[in-house]
Structure formats: structure tokens, C-alpha cells
Symmetry: C2
Subunit: 335 residues, 2 copies
Amino acid sequence: MHVREVPTPALVVDLDALDANIARMGARWPGRRLRPHVKAFKSTALAARLADAGHDAFCAATLREVAGLAAAGLGADLLLANETVDVARLRRTLDGSPEARITIAVDSPETIEVAAAAGVREVLIDVDVGMPRCGCRPEQAGRLAELARSAGLGVRGVMGYEGHLMAEPTDRAAKVAAAMATLLGAHAEVGGDVISGGGTGTWDCNEHVTELQAGSFTLMDTHYEAAGVGFAPAMHLETTVVSRHPEGGWAAVDGGLKALGMDHGDPMIAGAAVWYCADEHTVFSMADGAALPAVGSRVRIWPAHVDPTVAYHERLWVARGDEVVDEWAVDLRGW
Amino acid sequence: MHVREVPTPALVVDLDALDANIARMGARWPGRRLRPHVKAFKSTALAARLADAGHDAFCAATLREVAGLAAAGLGADLLLANETVDVARLRRTLDGSPEARITIAVDSPETIEVAAAAGVREVLIDVDVGMPRCGCRPEQAGRLAELARSAGLGVRGVMGYEGHLMAEPTDRAAKVAAAMATLLGAHAEVGGDVISGGGTGTWDCNEHVTELQAGSFTLMDTHYEAAGVGFAPAMHLETTVVSRHPEGGWAAVDGGLKALGMDHGDPMIAGAAVWYCADEHTVFSMADGAALPAVGSRVRIWPAHVDPTVAYHERLWVARGDEVVDEWAVDLRGW
């Protein structure tokens, strides 16, 4: 099937670009030095491709992602890089995945208590390295590790996500080093083999962690492209022109804000200016006085933020060039 | 079950508020004078509640919504208020719903040709009334109606969506009247019984249409609240505090931008200031120096835009007061 035959709106993955991104990342972060974050793509099929490339330890943001990875046979070393206080769901996830190795992040006495009550075996101490979200204060890390060990939990080490620096325009490496100094300081108090952190935006300057938590590099988006991270755009939204207005200078395609994560702003169309996204439409004009595409023409839209874009879709159409070669379920959506 | 027991993040519908919204709208737009737009809530269960209140003609934005409504026995009078050029999918929808009455919008010779080729029986001529998206130029409407009739299509009338005026702060009624004068002018050339338009933002000032296309009034959002439309907030995102930082003044809950449509900006938390949404977290501080809620506490988040919020979820939990009384599938997602 040709990409032009895929019913729109549809996410299309460029398999060669994806493989090139995986190879590029793997050259710097081989094997389990990379812990791919599945939240970016929410597909066990894509995760399996990473595992085939040697990256078989994964990072997840939800228990649904953890359970789905385990059920797909990808449970060699799963990290819930997030806090939870839902004992029942956590226990169900663990009980449902007896063969998986599941580690979870904790950052408080409460989350440690939940982990112990649910039957978790191993944790990482999540440390705040400068982005207000989760993570304990660095000076609390040692005490929390002690508390976790006294509750019977194995403490594998620390994690700290420098999310505020992913697209930092100036002195990214130095700022990352400062954030990671905080994490390393906490690690000295906590112990363990694992220092987990980083992401697509700091893949080439975070020399400090033992494993990199990156996911967006696989499919990419215009936000990370603008940040200059050096991976290739590997996923677009395929759309069809449904309405054309030469007198007003605009056209509308059949994919909009329900097919695109909008928190990073409007998506991009090459050679065009996006006016706005409505629920099921993107409206645009052409740059440089080019003619608007005809009704029925295909238009490729490049998402501004990959994670919430994929989360709207049931499947990824996988193409080599213009030939659809596979279809991957987005099977890790929801909670 | 108490709302506190629902696993988070979860959308919770306040059934009494929903029913009050339906009653309020129905008093002004009884029976088929209202054509509820299912794109706002994407649930056949909620649509069935509207049908029970006498509003059994529906408006849809996607063929998936049309097919789902028909399959649920809600196909008395369905309008695809959108253009499509996908002959195969349109034909499949029609063939799969032989008992439904399905009307579609057309705004060009191409969309008329598609409708005829797919076996559509009835259309509305979609007219541009001032918002650049779909819809023909008003002066083309008569010619398109002629073209449609000559292609064997029944022309039921016109539609025109004044979407650019839904939250208009000044002279909304006068501006709506001007937009609708355009639609009525086109209708004079087109003929037919139907003049379809309007929405939640113009429900009380669009005196001009024969049927109102509104959906957001059912569940509401902070955007429409700010526009002063007079319906009650009837849906929130139930979340749980997973990380608390009294020293920094913030806390994080377990629902973020993958559980909330973000095109209208950040959501609202009563008594708090939202700092930002991450993929799976919303970070906030308390107003007036109030203490941050404890880890494990529930926090209600009020979405800024209902449509793309619901589209992220598999279900709506339905509550009367704090008691969960039902669970509605969000079964019209995707395309």
C-alpha cells in the first residue's frame, strides 16, 4: 500500500529515519546504557524494535505502560520513572507481571510506604534536580533510601530528570552538569548501581548518568528539532485537503487538534504557514505565493510535541519511502 | 463507589449538572431544534441521554462518530457537519448503517462528486460565514446546490458555523446576526428546510437558524465559562497528589497534558495557581498561603477545552454528588 492510500488523518512513521535515529543514539548509549522512555511512542512494537537493537531496559510514565511492556515480553528491566500512591493498581501490575523486573521511583515516605505495601521489590530514589515536579530534595535522598531499605525494598540508586534543560538554548552542557552534580551528590548518600536521568535534549551532553532516559529521539518533533538535538523527523500526520479557498488564500485539511498535541503550539507544514488548528482541521496558507494544493491532495503535518500527539492515535502506519510496510498498535495509551 | 475510589487520572461527570445543562438548553432549543454535536463528548451513552430528552438528531465531525451513533441506534437524523473526500470510507459508513438517515456537508464540486459516488442521499451546502475553515463562498451556494441536485443528491438546506464568534466579548449578538445574514442569503439561493449553525457560545443569541449545533454545553469547560454562556461545569479531571514540596511551594498530581486538551491553555484548580502541565503531571501552588494538599489527596482539575480533553480518555465516570452511578465509554474516538 502507498502512503497516499492510508485513511487520514494518520500518523506515518518513516522506518529508515527511525532506524537511523536508533542507530545514532545507540552509538553513544549502547545496550542498557540507554533506557528508552516509552511514554513518547506508547507502542510495544516500537519498543520491541529498540530491544532488538540491544536496548531492552525500558522507562515508563504510567502503570499501563509497565503492564503492557511486561505483557509483550519486554519486562527484562522496567522502570516506572514516576510516583504512584495507588496501592491496588500497583499490586495488580506486579501480580500480573510475575516474570518482569519492575523498579519504581519514590520520593517521599508516602510513596515508599505504598511501594512496600504493594509488594514492590526495588526502587530508585527520585531526586529534584531543578525542575519543579516530582523528586525529593537532594539532602533527603539518603534518609529516604534508609527508610526504603528498612521497609524491605532494594534501592538500586537514584534518578533525576533535568527536564527544564531539554531545550535550554545557552550553556546546556554546563547547566546539565550542575543539575547532575546535585544528583551525584544524592547518589553518594543513597548508593546503588543506577544513576538514571537525561533525555533527548541532553543526550549529547549528559556525561553523568549511568543510563539515559530518552524516548522522543525515536520519532522526533519540531520542538526538539528547534532545540538542535540532531535526530531526524521520523513521524508526520498524513492529512487530506478537504476545503480550498484560493480567494481567501487558505486551505483546510482533515487533521487538527484532536490528532496533535498542542501544548508546544501549532504544528508545521513545509512551505506553508499554519493559521490555526480546529478540532478536526488545520488551516494554512502557502508561503511564497505558491498555489494551494487541490482538494484531495495529501499534506504532511509535522507535530510540535510527539508524546501527546501519539497518545491520540490507535496506530502508527510504518513506511519505507512511500510504501506502507507495517502497522503498529499504539497499545500503551490510557492509565 | 465513591468518586475518591476512582483510579486517577479520570474524567468524572456530574450527572445533575449535566442534566441541568440539557434542560436549560432544551427549554430554548427543544427537540430537533437542537442538533447536539457529539464531537464534544464522543460518547453514545451521553448521546442517548440527549435523545431521551428529545434531541435525537445529531451532528458529527468524523465518519467514526457517524458510524458509532448509527450502530448505537441513534441514527434517526445524523449530520456529518464536515467535508470528506474519502469515497471508500464514506461508502462503508453508509453501507454499514442502512437504517440511519445520514446527511453530509459539501462545499465544493469535489465534495459533491465524492458524496454522489459514495451513495449519499442528502447533503447540506456548507457556507463560509466568516471563519476561515470549510464552507463555500456565499455567492457559490446556489450553484453548488444545483450541481448537487443534478448529481442526484437531495439538498436539505444550508449550514454555516460562526465559530469565530463563540467567545466574542463584544456585540456577540450583532456579529452573529451579520454572519447569519450571510447564511440566510445563501439559503435563499439553495432552498430546503434546514438552516443549521450556531454553538454553545451563541445559543442565546443565534435566533436565525432552524437548528443549533451545540455540544460543549453538556460538559462545559473553563473557556466557555469565561465566555459567560451560563451552563454549569459538569466534568472535571480527578487526580491524586503524588508529590508535595512545601519548601518550594508546589505539589504535583497524576494527570497532565495527556489527559487534557491544551490548545486553550492550562486547566484550572480552584484555590490554586497552575504552574504547568507535563505529560502525566500538573504542578501547582496554593493561593492565599493555604497549605498544600497531602500526598494521596484528590484534586479536581477543570479542563480549558472539553473536546480534546475527552478524546484522550476511554471512559467517563458518572457521579451523583460523590457517588459513582455509571460509567460511559468514550466510544466515538479516532477516525
